[in-house]
Symmetry: C2
Subunit: 195 residues, 2 copies
């Protein structure tokens, strides 16, 4: 990589980091591009060279925010957990994460609530992230021998979203019932539960 290309990436990086912080803490609609450029320490001209519009910036921000959000929620491949254990760990980790003071819920849900326009470029990204988590649940549900892995995955995805919304309305850490609900749904499908 040439020095010029590195400098270009550095600007892009600073802009995206500033967007991650500002969009999460102030909301997407309440954050102007002016403020992003100011916090990033980047001229508006440089910013618009990388992100021709705020919509481009939102579409670039969302995968980064969501990757960070899912990081630590989905257990590592070598975690040694059973398939059922992996599913339950997602919910246990979500509960733990909700105790962090900077917890702001799911960036995908927050972005779609802020941007009702279903034609917005970030919509496809939002759906693909939700599908990714549901796909993970489905694969683990199959491996765990669930009676109807498709249904179970949909149920778990819904409880996950519900827990996020539940927590952000109340501005409280998630209750233990999140984990208990996942256990109940697994058990109802004949999945053997870890202790």
């Amino acid at each position: 990589m040439t020095t010029e290309a590195q400098a270009l990436d550095g600007v892009r990086e600073r802009v995206l980091e500033a967007a991650c912080e500002l969009f999460a803490n102030r909301g997407i609609n309440s954050t102007g591009v002016d403020l992003v450029s100011e916090v990033a320490g980047v001229s508006k001209r440089s910013l618009y060279q990388r992100f021709p519009s705020k919509d481009h910036l939102i579409a670039a921000y969302l995968p980064r925010a969501t990757d960070r959000f899912l990081d630590g929620l989905v257990p590592a491949e070598d975690s040694g957990l059973s398939a059922a254990g992996r599913i339950l760990e997602v919910f246990a980790a979500t509960q733990r994460k909700s105790h962090q003071p900077d917890f702001r819920g799911c960036p995908v849900l927050n972005a779609t609530a802020e941007i009702p326009d279903v034609g917005h470029p970030m919509r496809g990204i939002a759906v693909s992230y939700k599908d990714r988590l549901q796909g993970y649940f489905r694969a683990q549900a199959e491996a765990a021998g669930a009676a109807d892995p498709e249904l179970l995955a949909e149920q778990l995805a819904m409880v996950f979203d519900g827990a996020m919304s539940y927590g952000s309305v109340r501005d409280q850490p998630l209750p233990d019932s999140v984990h208990a609900t996942a256990r109940t749904l697994l058990a109802a499908q004949g999945v053997e539960l870890p202790q």
Copy 2:
């Protein structure tokens, strides 16, 4: 009521109706007070006499939007349904409602996602509405003989929120699994289910 008071109420009414329409379709943050006054056909001076700030308007809008949203979801007292049937009807009605073209999900979840500030005056209203639905679930769960009505109510409230969020990310009517999940959670607590 004097004619003057009626006129005052008429203005308030038009402003709140315009806010209901605009906040739902465009989002709260993307809707300026100027546009609300324009659509309501009310001068900005008259608007600010009733709602000194946009935050006042949001706080007045939310109960109205939420009452409408819950209307038709919670079955009537004389519905003839059992307690378990009432709980299931909330989820069945939610699924039906999600097929309407103007369905925009839960106004409380949308408002809290748009306004991250936990000190905002609408926050208390948001929590009280969520508590009201959860309280309804708890009362019915008790009447239906659930093993742990408190837990069941929390689970149902979470599935309800999850269904709303699930549907609004995907911009699709809710899947049948919403109702199936409620049935599974009731059955797991020993509640006898209607056919």
